[in-house]
Symmetry: C2
Subunit: 154 residues, 2 copies
Amino acid sequence: MSDVLIPAPPVAVPPQGLSIGDAARAVGLSVDTLRYYEKEGLLLDPAPRDGGGRRRYGEHDLAWLAGLVMLRETGMSIADVRVMADLSRRAGTEAERLVVLERHRERVVAEMERTRRHLAALDTKIASYRAASGGYDASPHSPHSPDDQEEGPR
Amino acid sequence: MSDVLIPAPPVAVPPQGLSIGDAARAVGLSVDTLRYYEKEGLLLDPAPRDGGGRRRYGEHDLAWLAGLVMLRETGMSIADVRVMADLSRRAGTEAERLVVLERHRERVVAEMERTRRHLAALDTKIASYRAASGGYDASPHSPHSPDDQEEGPR
DNA sequence: GCTTGACCTGGAGCGCGCTCCAGGTCGCAT
DNA sequence: ATGCGACCTGGAGCGCGCTCCAGGTCAAGC
């Protein structure tokens, strides 16, 4: 069975698979990046080749790629993605994969929280500039510095 | 005049200013990075020096640095921070600074939104691993791929 | 049969953002 | 006066993640 747990695959995949160009478009990477990832061992296996030695990406490959992109876009390093790939090639490593994912999740959440706080500071800053320009005109003693309060007491 | 709009400065600054080491600690950067930023023109001015040619960071400098860190941590490039610094050195550029900040804000918000969606996918993935390991045991045909659905219809 | 364009491989190059190093100075404590 | 640690400058080096290039093959359309 090996059903790939993907309700909505990123794109319709014909039986003979997608060319590297189409696959790249489908997952939002460049052709070069796709080849680079393969070289770096981030794929479960090198993409299967057709008669002429060209890569053909099946649903399976596309599914993995979509997940890979998700990990990369949440800031997982190439090295850590490789760890996931290495684990995923071996059966019985589910617990370890889970650990990697959970650790990653923690980092993502922490990072979002920090960004959220910085965004609040940015908003305050923007508001002060808006007030300055909207109030009258920019005063000669301009509001210096891109700063603003960040968090509460330190 | 020239009040720096900082309710809560990041740290208490003695009248003679902070050494580069203390300033670095205060804003969470390395000493090298602080010197690098100065070299790159990200500060409003090179930090003032004491008799022996050593940098002394005043409240003003610390305030700018705090803002700079906020911009960097929300993903603004060195180049764009330099633009902000260049603008902030000239009076009457408030509107332009506002544009830069607003554009940056848009990017940050978009980025957070993408991360939020990816995080949801990550959570689904984690849940499926938890179910697999908790349910019974990892089945031989293990849940392949770090993937999962991402967004709804494309 | 020929052109065109997408693809192949191996490897070099690059932009970013630091980080480190060599060789030296300063100032405080012993 | 002598150490010591923190600081100085200019410049080299580096890790990451691609991106580009040369030189070649292959398949399809004209």
